[in-house]
């Protein structure tokens, strides 16, 4: 079985074990074993770059760690995907910075060559639509609204992943799994999760608007593929007030896993 390293990122590692469980179960069914990445660290995210040019050493460290284990990386969050991909691009085009990064990595016994690939789980699943459709013996009867992870698709010049304004890949996956997609006005709007770090009211309003838009369109499930999206659209529902209608939220591999007939416990849904 093909092996890849799972880079969970800080948020999923700390808060969303069900996402990790479901990702491992679904990819195993599709022929990929996700191996835990011992020693991984924060990717720098959007946190470190404004403070120091040293930010690039963290994603470079993780990429070099994957290289040392001769495996490509699978990511679950948007921010990690963007940080690792931008680092690959930056180091591929800047020999001076590459040399500087490698001087630092040498101090921890690693060297970056750029040979480890990075794929978000959407990309992995979108590349196996036929297998998903063939194995989807139990199409979930949900009317699904999607939230697309901004950091996996933009900036498109660097990420080269999907349509940056109307991404399709999550839609294709959900359709292959046999669920019904619901179009809604704010489908392609950001969930606003990161705004929590600067203004809780803005973050709450962004989440409320998106949830109401999906509910108004008739959705009975929100599906996400990023820890931040779940934080905003799932966990933040508790803060919206007692009279707010609820919308269940699920991670993408949990929905796909249900379609493939994988048990709820193995998908972190029980």
């Amino acid at each position: 079985m093909e092996k890849r390293l799972l880079f969970p990122g800080c948020l999923v590692f700390a808060r969303f074990q069900e996402y990790e469980l479901a990702a491992k179960a679904v990819l195993k069914r599709l022929g990929i074993e996700l191996v835990d990445m011992d020693g991984f660290s924060c990717c720098s995210s959007s946190i470190v770059p404004p403070f120091s040019s040293d930010w690039i050493n963290l994603p470079a460290y993780n990429l070099a760690l994957a290289e040392s284990r001769r495996m490509d990386i699978v990511t679950l969050c948007g921010s990690c995907t963007r940080s690792l991909r931008l680092t690959q691009q930056q180091l591929a085009g800047d020999a001076v910075q590459l040399e500087e990064v490698n001087r630092r990595l040498a101090e921890v016994g690693l060297e970056y060559h750029g040979s480890a690939g990075v794929s978000h789980i959407i990309e992995i699943l979108a590349g196996r639509l036929d297998k998903i459709a063939a194995g989807a013996t139990r199409p979930p009867g949900y009317r699904v609204a999607l939230s697309h992870p901004c950091n996996v698709i933009r900036p498109s010049a660097a990420l080269r992943f999907d349509d940056p304004w109307k991404p399709r890949k999550m839609r294709d996956i959900v359709e292959a799994a046999g669920a019904t997609l619901v179009d809604y006005d704010l489908e392609f709007e950001c969930c606003g999760a990161t705004l929590m770090m600067v203004d809780e009211e803005w973050a709450t309003r962004a989440a409320r608007a998106k949830l109401h838009s999906a509910l108004d369109a008739g959705a009975d499930l929100m599906v996400v593929s990023c820890g931040n999206c779940f934080l905003s659209l799932g966990r933040m529902q508790d803060r919206l007030g007692p009279d707010e209608p609820e919308l269940p939220v699920m991670f993408l591999p949990q929905l796909v896993g249900l379609a493939l007939g994988i048990g709820k416990e193995a998908l972190g849904l029980s």
Binding site: F51, S52, P155
Partner: protein, 134 residues
């Protein structure tokens, strides 16, 4: 500052979620309507995607954030990353993973993080950096 190629056309303002929520962001700064707001960002990068001039808005964001005081949440997250290697402390993580029947994952050695983020240790709270390259 690399504002030369920003035509102040305002296209980025139309897709910025912070502006839609009534706040000021990098897009407001670039248009000349605000001096601050670079930290007010959802990291959706629609501004970068929409720019018809191909202006490097990301570089502008970094430059402006370095000139403004960082929110406490960012400083705390930076502190955690530089100390533990992660945005959050992970003391309880093995126990939580066991509850989910997930095996433990070896955490990064904080000494490695200290070596990789030497300059970051000097930065908060005033955002100064001895190397301004992004």
């Amino acid at each position: 500052m690399n504002r030369k190629s920003c035509d102040q056309c305002g296209v980025c303002r139309e897709c910025c979620i912070v502006e839609k929520l009534g706040g000021e962001a990098i897009t407001t700064i670039l248009s000349g309507d605000s001096e601050t707001g670079a930290w007010n960002c959802a990291n959706c990068w629609k501004c970068i995607e929409s720019c018809p001039a191909g202006f490097d808005i990301y570089l502008a964001i970094i430059e402006h954030r370095r000139a403004e005081k960082a929110p406490a949440s960012y400083r705390e997250a930076l502190d955690n990353i530089c100390h533990y290697g992660y945005i959050f402390p992970m003391e309880e993580i093995d126990r939580i993973r066991e509850m989910w029947r997930l095996p433990p994952v070896r955490q990064v050695d904080p000494k490695i993080i200290r070596m990789l983020t030497r300059k970051c240790q000097l930065i908060p709270p005033d955002n100064k950096d001895d190397d301004s390259s992004v």
